[in-house]
Symmetry: C2
Subunit: 171 residues, 2 copies
Amino acid sequence: MKKKKIYEGKILGLSVYDGKIEGRKVKREVIEHRGAAAMLAFDEDKKVILVKQHRFPHGYVLEIPAGTLEKKEEPIKCAFRELEEETGYRAKKMTPLITYYPSIGYNSEIIHCFVASGLKKIADLKLDEDEILSVEKVDMKKLLNMIKSGKIQDSKTICAVLTYAAKKKLY
Amino acid sequence: MKKKKIYEGKILGLSVYDGKIEGRKVKREVIEHRGAAAMLAFDEDKKVILVKQHRFPHGYVLEIPAGTLEKKEEPIKCAFRELEEETGYRAKKMTPLITYYPSIGYNSEIIHCFVASGLKKIADLKLDEDEILSVEKVDMKKLLNMIKSGKIQDSKTICAVLTYAAKKKLY
């Protein structure tokens, strides 16, 4: 496949590939992304810690905390770091939950979801300059209902919460 | 927000926005995508109809059937059309299941998932010139285990199957 680089930016790049797959002529537009970690984190009262974040052009969106991997960063290190930066909580343990591709047809991004446990509030938020967010806590049953009723439409929150519920047989 | 168009392609576009949100200077890289429909389809024996599709650069991936909306196409029309094209099955009914953003932070794509029922095999596959795929059937219990064990890593398959399982209390 012949690669033509179109764009290299802050959080993503774009390349177009031309060539043959199994004898057929194909063109593939591919978003290049370093990948991310997302954390299903439970506080002292077993509530799930969410962030309400400004997502252009959607407005404010309620999601589990998450962040993009730094260059060569291990997903689990990113998970510990981002949880602390976005929520002020430090976790004792990060347990792998599910790993998935949000758009497997055209985007290299892979999202590593963890269950964060043993949480302790250690600091105020350390946000990136252009991050706009606040913390909210919701109990698991309510969160499941928000997904089933369509109030939450963010893939990492849906995948992490429903996988956790399926593994723990929460229904 | 000031918009600069970087790329307009076959399945996606890319724009970069500069401006202020709530008084803060921000830059947002946004993938523009028309959206898609994905179908959790059950055959006469209640097995789920999947497609094994070549996804560059991943190789072959097992997924629920899906496709990109044509310009101004209703998601439900796209669901009927794509199911027939990719699997050769015509559905009697498409029931909305869940709608989600695969990458809410930087991609406008929204995926409309439906449950397809009343299926009848009516034709052979009608694939786009650059589509490379075959049909497989898997029972729901096995599919749930494939998700929980990490064998399936495609967001639309995970979101549709786990939402269906949660709504039907399948665990």
